[in-house]
């Protein structure tokens, strides 16, 4: 069984990862590259630790970052152009497979009929869990944006995603009114607690940041709709059909 589930997750994840890489290349990536110009420019006149970097010509870490990045320390980074596109695509494929594995696990846990069209509904739920809910407190960031300490943001992001996932499951997939109510509470909880506070006043123009938020969320919906369909269709093909055919 695990082999068939893995086949469905791998196939749909790799495909969705490759497809979203093409979409990102024309939507979010140009904004990231543009923002890096401001990030690099701003870094020189701020009290920040500089690190020479071939990608951006300087990536800065906020003084309260809390991480040790020695000045002048060189770390590998992909060269701009084909190499950078390759590694971005590779990382998107891994993200695709990761999300596909979680989605297929949810299909199997639910244990019901599945196809591409039903998969899209699950994909929309994935969008809410992994993009919309974390994005409410931590809007998608361009390089150079001001932000709270990274581990605090990561913790809240994971909390928001996990709480929303559990909440949606209880709200839509259980029939008991108490469970439904707990579901609503779990969806609201991360926002009642609140995301780590981010200072204002980065170097990237707010117009560019706003454009990036829209592009990131819109492409996330495209990604999740594609992944939902692909995962649903391959789950039907590789898990359900094989199972009933014997």
């Amino acid at each position: 069984m695990i082999g068939r589930l893995l086949t469905a997750a791998l196939l749909s994840g790799v495909l969705a990862g490759v497809l979203i890489s093409v979409v990102h290349e024309f939507t979010t990536t140009p904004i990231i590259l543009q923002a890096e110009q401001y990030e690099a420019r701003g870094a020189s006149d701020q009290a920040v630790l500089m690190r020479s970097d071939e990608i951006s010509g300087g990536r800065f870490y906020l003084a309260h970052d809390g991480e040790d990045h020695a000045e002048g320390e060189e770390t590998w980074a992909p060269e701009n152009g084909l190499e950078r596109t390759f590694f971005t695509t590779l990382s998107n494929v891994i993200t695709g497979v990761a999300y596909a594995a979680l989605l297929v696990a949810a299909f199997y846990m639910r244990g019901q009929k599945m196809d591409g069209r039903t998969g899209v509904l699950w994909g929309v739920a994935g969008f809410v869990v992994f993009a919309l809910a974390p994005g409410m407190g931590l809007p998608p960031e361009v390089p150079g944006a001001m932000a709270a300490e990274v581990s605090a943001r990561q913790t809240w992001w994971i909390f928001a995603a996990a709480s929303t996932a559990a909440g949606l499951w209880l709200l839509f997939l259980t029939r008991h009114a108490v469970f439904n109510a707990v579901g609503v509470l779990l969806i609201a909880l991360p926002h009642l607690v609140g995301a780590p506070f981010a200072p204002l006043g980065g170097n990237v123009p707010p117009e560019l940041s706003a454009h990036f938020v829209a592009a990131s969320l819109a492409t996330a919906l495209v990604f999740w709709a594609m992944l939902g369909w692909l995962a649903g269709a391959s789950y039907e093909r590789f898990v359900l059909r094989t199972e009933t055919d014997g």
């Binding site: 069984m1 695990i2 589930l5 893995l6 997750a9 990102h24 979010t28 990536t29 990231i32 990608i55 990536r59 870490y61 970052d65 991480e67 990045h69 770390t75 590998w76 980074a77 992909p78 950078r84 590694f87 971005t88 590779l90 990382s91 998107n92 891994i94 993200t95 497979v97 990761a98 596909a100 594995a101 979680l102 297929v104 696990a105 199997y108 846990m109 244990g111 019901q112 993009a131 974390p134 809007p139 998608p140 960031e141 361009v142 390089p143 932000a147 990274v150 943001r153 990561q154 992001w157 990036f212 990131s216 969320l217 492409t219 996330a220 990604f223 359900l240 059909r241 199972e243 009933t244």
Partner: protein, 60 residues
């Protein structure tokens, strides 16, 4: 094969039977997600940089 039978064949498996594959798959997903979106070593960060920003993982 009717929908009813399809549905019954997976629903008939015990929760325990389903729990193991679900756990393995979820752990794989979380492990990959951690590596691509959350791990802090510079090399991983730089390789996945644009993807992390586009998918709105907390970065930097």
């Amino acid at each position: 094969m009717s929908d009813q039978v399809l549905k019954a064949s997976i629903a008939a498996q015990s929760i325990a039977q389903r729990a193991i594959p679900v756990t393995i798959l979820a752990m794989l997903g979380v492990f990959l997600l951690y590596g691509v979106g959350f791990a802090q070593p510079d090399v991983l960060h730089n390789a996945a940089h644009d993807g992390r920003h586009s998918f709105a993982f907390p970065c930097h």
